[in-house]
């Protein structure tokens, strides 16, 4: 049973885990400089640049996106009452992918060729695509003033299939170089950002995430079905709409910034539910912190494994997450039913 004390202890524990992951992420990379060097007087300017302009921004972005995906995953699982839902089931990621790929092929690559850097153009277009998809899916799935979970799910699946077709279409017209860039973008890559922009990203992610955390007890009630939750005093329509919009915003931001990073939003919530129980008051904040730590470590692996070349982080999360998840299901899932 969850108490305020247990919640505090677990959150502190996962905060420590996240800080440790951040330290690891900052310490490893293709340039030879580690966190300990910060306290050495003899840190060269080049090393300072690596730490402050590349590694620290990078691990912070990875942490924020990992947290966003993971808490969106928990929320959609609660909304759909299905532990196998992930942040991408509701289709918003499809819109983000279209926006990103269009911006990449039509604007960023030509600009790069002309040596005019456009660092945020892809995320901005991708996020616009996500918002467009969000509004569209919400409109289609609202029947008679109610957001029907089945319709949301179906609309999302169809929208994802449609956006995949659009992307294949663009790919079939693309040059080899463009194709490479598109594939890399979609497989998931954490973008470096200027420190100032990270503040804005943090606000954009932490506000919806905090609003979702406050819905924990209502999500618990929702696990007894929409009618059951209503009879326990939950305004079910408002809860569903809020969850869809907040979760979709977080997913949209994550896909806009880093492409489709799989497994974070599925494996992290699942693992934590098996370990700590299904109470969403605990599961929501702990998934945010755990997802953040997971993506920081996965991104570090992506940078280090084949240095100086970089793997798409989505490949790492799937390679690590997939087998681990199956192992977990075989060991715990059978006895738990989940």
């Amino acid at each position: 049973m969850l108490t305020a004390r247990r919640l505090t202890l677990c959150c502190l524990g996962f905060l420590v885990l996240l800080l440790a992951a951040l330290a690891v992420g900052v310490s490893f990379g293709s340039g030879e400089v580690s966190l300990g060097d910060l306290w050495n007087d003899g840190l060269s300017e080049r090393h300072q640049a690596i730490l402050f302009q590349i590694r620290i921004p990078r691990v912070l972005v990875a942490a924020l996106l990992g947290g966003a995906l993971s808490i969106a995953g928990v929320s959609f699982q609660a909304l759909l009452r299905n532990p196998l839902a992930d942040p991408y089931v509701l289709g918003v990621s499809g819109g983000a992918s279209i926006g990103g790929v269009v911006a990449l092929t039509l604007i960023e690559l030509p600009a790069l060729a002309a040596r005019i850097p456009q660092p945020l153009i892809v995320p901005v277009f991708a996020f616009a695509g996500a918002l467009g998809a969000l509004v569209l899916i919400e409109r289609i799935a609202t029947v008679g003033g109610r957001l029907t979970v089945y319709t949301v799910l179906l609309t999302g699946a169809i929208f994802n299939a449609f956006s995949a077709a659009v992307i294949y279409f663009i790919q079939s017209l693309a040059s080899l170089e463009e194709l490479h860039a598109i594939v890399f973008h979609l497989m998931g890559r954490v973008r470096e950002m200027a420190i100032g922009w990270i503040g804005a990203l943090a606000v954009a992610i932490l506000i919806p995430a905090t609003l979702l955390v406050t819905q924990g007890r209502s999500f618990n009630a929702l696990s007894t079905g929409e009618e059951g939750a209503t009879q326990l005093g939950v305004d079910t329509e408002r809860l569903k709409r809020r969850t869809f919009i907040l979760g979709a915003l977080l997913t949209g931001i994550a896909v806009a910034m880093a492409g489709l990073i799989g497994f974070v939003g599925l494996v992290v919530p699942h693992l934590l539910r098996l370990w700590l129980g299904p109470d969403h008051r605990l599961l929501l904040p702990v998934s945010f912190l755990g997802g953040a730590a997971f993506l920081v470590l996965a991104d570090t692996l992506a940078r280090v494994l084949t240095a100086p070349n970089e793997l798409p982080v989505g490949v790492v999360t799937a390679l690590v997450g997939g087998p681990f998840f199956l192992l977990l299901l075989r060991r715990r899932g059978a006895s738990h039913g989940f």
């Binding site: 108490t3 305020a4 299905n82 618990n220």
Partner: protein, 270 residues
């Protein structure tokens, strides 16, 4: 409206274009147990769902403890009224105690945790429902009857003034049926809770209900004190089958037995 806990007036409802209830009038006073009886599809569960505030788009009025169900926020309604559904659903592996504590949801402020008093209330309810032994087991590992007792304990923990029961005894063995309805009676008579309950078991209804509302095709076919409504004529007409009616010599209450097709054919021949 007076002092009645549930007041339903001129209630009509349709699922899309299929009418389910037409012109229902009904009241339940505090401390009273009213049984909703009728064949499958007569609208019993729909009526329970409407009174609980889970369905909207009805004609007529429903008041629960003076609250207009159509306009009262669900949270306020849930503090006055608890429901034991026919088939409770559970999406994630919460323990029985955690499920019961959900009954405190409408009483707790925004981010508050259950207090020790709340937990004591939940454990006491589990105890009274004979479910204390599996308080810490995941709900989906329990049998249907055990789950039903847990859900009833949750309804008690909600501390309602009105209890809506939709076949709460359908998965229970006879001992637990009686224990559950003894608890219902205790809530009604000692705590002055108003109870509206769907029942299929006519003998249980005869024993426990103060009044009966007989539903047939979405309309009230008969309503009144149990002894008056439970007549051979009323039952055979509403259920469209032959029954054997007698008096329970121990309690003086009605005893009803359905008759098999073979016996009914034989009766018709004689």
């Amino acid at each position: 409206m007076g002092s009645d806990a549930i007041v339903v007036r001129g209630l009509s409802f349709a699922y899309r274009d299929r009418p389910a209830l037409a012109g229902i009038d009904l009241t339940v006073a505090p401390g009273e147990i009213v049984g909703l009886i009728g064949p499958n599809g007569s609208g019993k569960s729909t009526l329970i769902r409407l009174v609980s505030g889970a369905l909207d788009g009805f004609d007529g009025e429903i008041h629960v403890m003076g609250l207009d169900v159509a306009t009262t926020p669900q949270r306020e309604l849930a503090r006055a009224l608890a429901v034991v559904p026919q088939e409770p659903r559970f999406g994630f592996p919460f323990t029985a105690l955690e499920i019961v504590l959900m009954g405190r949801h409408p009483h707790l402020a925004g981010l508050a945790f259950e207090s020790e008093a709340d937990v004591a209330l939940a454990r006491d309810a589990l105890e009274r429902c004979g479910a204390a032994g599996f308080a810490d087991r995941p709900i989906h590992e329990l049998s249907a009857g055990e789950r039903q007792r847990v859900v009833f304990a949750r309804a008690l923990t909600q501390q309602p003034r009105v209890l809506l029961l939709d076949e709460p005894a359908s998965f229970l063995d006879i001992r637990h049926q009686v224990e559950l309805y003894d608890l219902v009676r205790q809530q009604a008579h000692d705590q002055n809770v108003a109870v509206l309950s769907v029942l299929h078991d006519l003998n249980l209804a005869a024993e426990y209900c103060d009044r009966i509302v007989l539903l047939r095709e979405g309309r009230v076919a008969a309503a009144g004190p149990t002894d008056e409504v439970f007549s051979y004529a009323n039952l055979t007409e509403v259920f469209e089958t032959e029954v054997y009616v007698d008096t329970n010599t121990l309690t003086g209450k009605l005893l009803v037995m359905p008759l098999s097709g073979r016996v009914q054919r034989k009766l018709r021949e004689d």
